[in-house]
């Protein structure tokens, strides 16, 4: 039997300062997945890391490793952060709860911005990465595929994503609260990744005087600038660009702040104390939070913007309820499918065991009745088979289709194995971790 575990934190449980310490870049995710595979060979793993959440999904045989505390330890060691700093913000879910959580995440029901579609792409990306690293297996493959399908279903079958507010649209709205016109403004994008593109798409519609894209990789900067009719800018001349800019969008993958208070403070005079709107949507943050305390600086990070989105977001229609119903139905459906799949080998063994017993008893009886012809023997064989099938029908049906909780299901499985002396394919290695905080 496989056990699904989820360990993670999100915008609701952890502040930005904690999340940014534990965020995984793509390279780090690859590295971490390889690490998990080496350390826990029996486990499957997927890491979902976005600006709002860091989640580690593990599937492993019930008595195998890693245990939840080992998952915490792994995350801490990987980022060189002591578990005490982040463990109070962690949540731990197992089996059905973990499935429900992932489906909610993929459907954006767990997002700060309800109905945002970006998360679906991020779930898919996490799964693709795990697949390419061969760390997703028999459980996580179907789980993530189904999660993506559920996310799509919610987006298309409900109105949850309609009239949706995004971080980018809120950023533009805030820019309008600071600036009246944009035909004399310069917008500077630091970074040329997906998030920067998303935000620039909105800002480009304001028809600014200049749009600069500054990136370490100049080729990427040129590509993005060309797309929005802007110009690329050398990263080495960042200070000069900051003097010119009225709006700054920061979305790089840098691990340390790019704009420090020491860098920006002297530039204010050169800027003639013009107001500047800075949007830091990077994770970890690109702009030192102290920059936002300076006069004439309006600094908004991802949490600030998402908070606004959430506040202004309309949850007026029944789309949320409809989305929840879809997710709930899909969780049940996946649970049944998974259970049936998990039970398959056991039921096969159960039938094989009983049919074998019946056949043995039948042979013994037939040996004492040599006068029987072939047709009569076939009748007896058929009788034995039907008796076994009839006897096993009810318990098997209950095992397959019932709505029993996972813990009870495991108890049944163990009981069946013990009572009927069925050989278990997995060999117990460690004590079960069913006593974990969210074990079901």
């Amino acid at each position: 039997m496989q056990r699904l575990l989820l360990m993670g934190l999100n915008h609701a449980t952890a502040p930005l300062e904690v999340r940014e310490k534990l965020a995984f870049s793509t390279t780090q995710r690859r590295c971490a997945l390889r690490g998990i595979r080496e350390k826990f060979p029996g486990a499957e793993a997927v890491i979902l890391s976005t600006c709002n959440r860091v989640e580690l999904y593990i599937s492993r045989p019930t008595h195998d490793l890693p245990r939840p505390e080992q998952m915490v330890d792994f995350i801490g060691r990987f980022h060189q952060v002591h578990p005490d700093q982040f463990s109070p913000h962690l949540y731990h879910k197992a089996n059905v709860e973990a499935v429900a959580h992932l489906f909610n995440v993929a459907s954006s029901l767990d997002s700060m911005i309800l109905g945002e579609t970006q998360i679906l792409g991020q779930v898919r990306e996490a799964y693709d990465l795990a697949r390419s690293e061969q760390s997703a297996g028999l459980v996580l493959h179907p789980l993530f595929q189904r999660a993506i399908a559920v996310g799509k279903q919610v987006m298309t079958q409900t109105t949850i994503a309609e009239g949706q507010l995004s971080v980018a649209s809120v950023a533009v709205d805030y820019a309008r609260r600071i600036f009246e016109q944009f035909s004399d403004k310069t917008i500077l994008s630091i970074g040329a990744g997906k998030m920067a593109t998303l935000v620039l798409r909105h800002f480009a519609q304001l028809s600014p005087r200049r749009l600069l894209v500054c990136n370490r990789d100049l080729r990427k900067a040129e590509e993005l600038a060309r797309r929005f009719g802007g110009a690329s800018a050398a990263f080495e001349q960042l200070a000069q660009h900051l003097v010119e800019a009225d709006i700054v969008v920061c979305a790089t993958g840098a691990t340390e702040p790019i704009i420090s208070v020491e860098l920006f403070e002297p530039l204010r005079k050169l800027r003639r104390y013009r107001p500047i709107f800075m949007i830091d949507i990077a994770m970890p943050r690109d702009i030192d939070p102290r920059v936002g305390e300076l006069e004439h600086v309006y600094l908004y990070n991802i949490d600030d913007l998402q908070q606004v989105v959430r506040q202004t977001q309309s949850q007026r229609n029944g789309s949320l309820e409809a989305a929840r119903r879809i997710v709930e139905a899909e969780v049940n459906s996946f649970g049944q499918w998974h259970r049936a799949r998990e039970m398959g080998p056991l039921i096969e063994r159960l039938y094989a065991h009983h049919h074998q017993m019946a056949q043995e008893e039948l042979r013994r009886t037939l040996n004492k009745m040599p006068e029987l012809n072939e047709s009569q023997i076939a009748h007896f064989e058929d009788l034995a088979r039907r008796v076994v099938n009839k006897l096993l029908h009810d318990p098997v049906q209950r095992l397959r289709g019932g709505q029993m909780p996972h813990g009870l299901q495991q108890t049944y499985v163990h009981a069946m194995e013990k009572l009927f002396n069925l050989d278990s394919p997995s060999t117990p290695k460690q004590e079960d971790d069913a006593a974990g905080p969210s074990a079901t």
């Binding site: 609260r177 009246e180 013009r274």
Partner: protein, 276 residues
Amino acid sequence: MSPNPGQLGLLTASVIFFAVGGVLSLLRVFRHKPGLRLPAKICAYVGIAMALAVLVWHGRIRGSWYPLEDNFDALIWLGVLLALFVQYVQRQRPLGGLDWFIMPVVILLLVAAGVFGQISPREYIDSTWSIVHRVSSYGGAVAFAVAGATGTMYLIHNRRLRRKTVRPELDFGSLERLERISMVSVTLGFALLSIGLITGIAEVIHLGQYTSLGINRMTQPKVLLAFAVWLIYALVLHTPINPRMRGRRAATLSILGFVLMIGALVAVQFMPGGTR
């Protein structure tokens, strides 16, 4: 000439309409009742119409159509001009919340007209200097009222933006627009006040430095406050040269200037020897 009870009654009705309009405007935003926009607007226009009717009635009884001949007349004109400014801005390019800041000033001016106009009516002196002095001074006060209101809005909006507590229903427009309106008002008000001060000095020279009671006209509180206001707005106008002043500081000074301007207007009422 003192206003008669009928004029005071009409003025009171005008104040009530402005107040009801303001309450409806607030309810529209805070209770999310967009349907109240029209009643609020109607109330404001009825208030303006009533105040204008008072001016017409007062002028007719006085037998003169010259504006600003006495306190009653001058303060009502001031209030009406401010109310018209609000309606003009809201019609051309609405600036959310502008009426909340200016209409109370309008109401205060109308109440002041009722109080001071009745108690201490002023004599009209038929001189060109005096007319120019009054028109420019009151015109300056209107502009400074606008600057003070937009300055207050700027400070509130700026504070909300910095604290990230902006509420979508309380849209004050953009900081840039508030700053621009404030600067235009200050520039206009400063020019008018400068003319008011110069013509005032000319009038002092014409009448003599001391009143019949032996009071130095140049050191009267009204004059000193008017000079203080002039200096403050000179500082605000300094902003393009010294950008460090822009934003919060300029807005604060605009408010301070407006408060002193109110002080000057009130001081006029208690000055011995009339308005001059």
